[in-house]
């Protein structure tokens, strides 16, 4: 589904060169639910941006659904984002002047669907997140958790192959966060591949696989889940691509929990 090989991302200014990602390798299979964790400044957001075609990379190869993303035109990238990727942002990123239905409709308009098809998909997506009855409300009339559910509905409306979630529960209290997480798990069970960036170790454990990024490089740990519960599942670590002190300490911390 997603394959990154030796991806590097360098931000250059006149004085400084910052390596946000270096020799970054990752394979994500279809239907996986992958959590991406790492300390601040480790390159999580850069990874998410590159994975979501929100920004380019300096070196390497990136294949999404078999398509080589390298040197893709802006229009083509936009079309792939629209058709194959659903985004869920930490700050929800709903458009405050549009009601819920209009917000969910935004990516569908860019896809060129007719009004009838847009209406059908908006209805279905809002029903999926339990907000169909409030489609004429403005985002400001909803709680944070409800707003994030609208954002999820917007991401789902285009029926994407995979979802990219950037700290989807970062602005929510624990109860709301749990509801959103359950929603994401349901979506994943229905077959959508999910990559979720999070700081929340507990949420990360509920994913099938946890990837840690440190200093722009990936350290890959697979977390196997047992039974229906996501807590306390057996986990086994594969060999890491990079071991640093900070990474080791993170790793130990994770194992200890």
């Amino acid at each position: 589904m997603l394959s990154m090989k030796n991806i590097s991302k360098v931000f250059k200014t006149d004085l400084v060169e910052t390596h946000a990602l270096r020799d970054f390798n990752l394979e994500v299979a279809e239907g996986e639910f992958v959590a991406v964790t790492g300390p601040s400044g480790s390159g999580k957001t850069t990874f998410l941006n590159i994975a979501g075609l929100l920004e380019g990379f300096t070196q390497g190869d990136y294949f999404l659904d078999g398509v080589n993303i390298s040197n893709m035109s802006d229009n083509k990238s936009a079309a792939i984002r629209n058709e194959k990727i659903g985004f869920i942002f930490q700050g929800f990123n709903l458009i405050p002047d549009l009601n819920l239905a209009e917000n969910v409709e935004v990516p569908l308009r860019y896809r060129g669907f007719n009004a009838k098809e847009r209406k059908r998909r908006v209805q279905k997506a809002l029903e999926q997140v339990g907000l169909a009855a409030r489609m004429k409300h403005l985002p400001s009339q909803l709680s944070g958790g409800q707003q994030q559910r609208v954002a999820i509905a917007r991401a789902l409306a285009g029926e994407p192959r995979f979802l990219l979630a950037d700290e989807p529960t970062g602005n929510l209290d624990s109860m709301m966060a749990r509801q959103v997480m359950e929603l994401l798990e349901d979506i994943n069970k229905a077959g959508t591949t999910i990559i979720m960036v999070t700081h929340d170790a507990e949420l990360a454990r509920r994913a099938q696989r946890n990837i840690q990024i440190v200093d722009g490089q990936v350290c890959d740990f697979t977390m196997y889940q047992s039974g229906e519960g996501h807590q306390g599942g057996e986990r086994a670590s594969e060999k890491p691509h990079l071991v640093t002190e900070s990474h080791v300490s993170l790793n130990q911390d994770k194992v200890a929990s």
């Binding site: 957001t45 998410l48 941006n49 979501g52 075609l53 929100l54 920004e55 802006d74 229009n75 936009a78 079309a79 984002r81 629209n82 058709e83 985004f87 942002f89 930490q90 700050g91 990123n93 458009i95 002047d97 549009l98 009601n99 209009e102 409709e105 935004v106 990516p107 308009r109 860019y110 896809r111 060129g112 403005l138 917007r154 285009g158 950037d166």
Partner: protein, 403 residues
């Protein structure tokens, strides 16, 4: 993807900025449409053809103080001497000079009997000899010029033959031929004048007159101590003739004052100066208003881009192409511009009606509000496209940043 419905939703939920811009556009359309109309009216007035060879024909004034001379023969000698000067095409005395702002005018009586007699519209009167048609450079399109033997000297009341402008002929006799018609300088039957020729166009002296194109040339050479002389000469010879004419005339008799050499094209500039000034001031106002409106539009777009940076990034992340972002801002401003244009068009018509009643202006032609709105759409495109292109360059990665 025009996205008109969501754009309308956005506009309806953020009314203050768009309403201010709308008011600005309404006022701009109302003022620009009327100002453009007045400018074009003024330009049309200034562009009216006098019918004469304006760059060739000039006049001067000749004052003769010597009471011991035969004035009539003096004038005839003077005119002949002028005609013989190098560069001179023709010369004649005249009662008035086209576009000069001063001269003679009168109405006449026409009709086949006392009962059916009626007054004509007013007309400028040129008294002159058989050289005046050529001296003015007007085109004789029907009939003939005066014969030398038909020219009378002295009182204007002696006139027997006339050449009229086509406009006067049309207004007086309609589709009937003007040649051979009789008009009377007094009441019916008094001082008959026979029409022997029609010139294509000859304007009078007063550019604001309602009968500017009505002119009559009569077969009288005026004999006065104060004489106006028309000279038609090769283009570019005025400076030389300004010296040659006084020198020649003073050789004959020094007791004269010769002054006021002015080309008809210079008279034109002078009499239309106020019209030109008004057209210039209004043009500057129109440009200024359009500039302010386009700055308002560009400012509003830039403000909205600044305010919606994250939203634009989010739209890009959700699949908007650069052209979708550009079209979003264009459509948003086209909507404001069109609504403002339609309301502004109505206000322009109302304003035009007020101007019509207060200042006797003609009724505003609807093409002007329509053209103003069309121009405003072009202006909107220019004012919006650059900031919108800048907005389209906002990275979709902004969606994941905490800005």
């Amino acid at each position: 993807m025009l996205q008109i419905k969501p754009i309308l939703s956005t506009l309806m939920r953020n009314k203050s900025g768009p309403i201010l811009l709308l008011i600005q556009i309404i006022l701009s359309v109302a003022i620009v449409a009327n100002a453009s109309f007045i400018i074009s009216e003024r330009i049309a007035l200034m562009d009216r053809d006098s019918g004469t060879a304006e760059d060739q024909v000039f006049n001067f004034r000749l004052y003769t103080f010597d009471t011991n001379i035969d004035l009539e023969s003096q004038i005839q000698r003077d005119i002949r001497a002028i005609r013989d000067l190098p560069g001179v095409i023709d010369a004649s005395t005249t009662s008035m000079v086209p576009l000069s702002g001063g001269g003679w005018s009168s109405g006449y009586t026409v009709g086949s009997s006392e009962e059916t007699a009626k007054d004509t519209e007013g007309a400028a009167i040129y008294y002159g000899d058989e050289h005046i048609v050529n001296s003015l450079g007007v085109e004789l399109i029907e009939g003939r010029n005066f014969y030398e033997e038909e020219i009378l000297t002295g009182s204007p009341d002696l006139a027997t033959h006339g050449i009229v402008s086509k406009a006067f002929a049309k207004e007086t006799w309609g589709d009937e031929p003007a040649i051979g018609q009789i008009m009377y300088a007094g009441d019916f039957g008094e001082m008959p004048i026979k029409i022997i020729g029609v010139v294509d166009k000859l304007q009078g002296a007063w550019v604001n007159s309602s009968y500017l194109d009505n002119s009559v040339i009569l077969n009288i050479q005026l004999v006065n101590v104060f004489t106006k002389v028309l000279v038609r000469a090769e283009v570019g010879t005025l400076a030389q003739l300004k010296e040659a004419i006084p020198a020649t005339l003073h050789k004959d008799n020094r007791n004269r004052v010769i002054e006021g050499f002015t080309l008809i094209s210079e008279h034109r500039k002078r009499v239309y100066r106020n019209h030109e000034l008004m057209a210039t001031v209004l043009s500057m106002m129109v440009v200024l208003l359009l500039l302010i409106t386009s700055l308002g539009l560009a400012g509003m777009v830039m403000f909205n881009i600044e305010r919606r940076t994250k939203q634009i990034g989010t739209r890009r992340a959700l699949g908007a192409k650069k052209r979708d972002i550009i079209s979003f801002f264009l459509v948003e401003n086209y909507i404001i511009c069109l609504v403002g244009g339609v309301i502004g068009g109505f206000v322009a018509v109302l304003l035009g009606q007020q101007l019509m009643s207060l200042y006797s202006l003609p009724q505003l032609d609807l093409i002007y509000p329509l053209m103003t709105v069309a121009g405003l759409i072009v202006l909107t495109t220019i004012a919006v496209i650059l900031p919108a292109r800048k907005a389209a360059r906002i990275s979709p990665a902004i969606a994941t940043r905490s800005v």
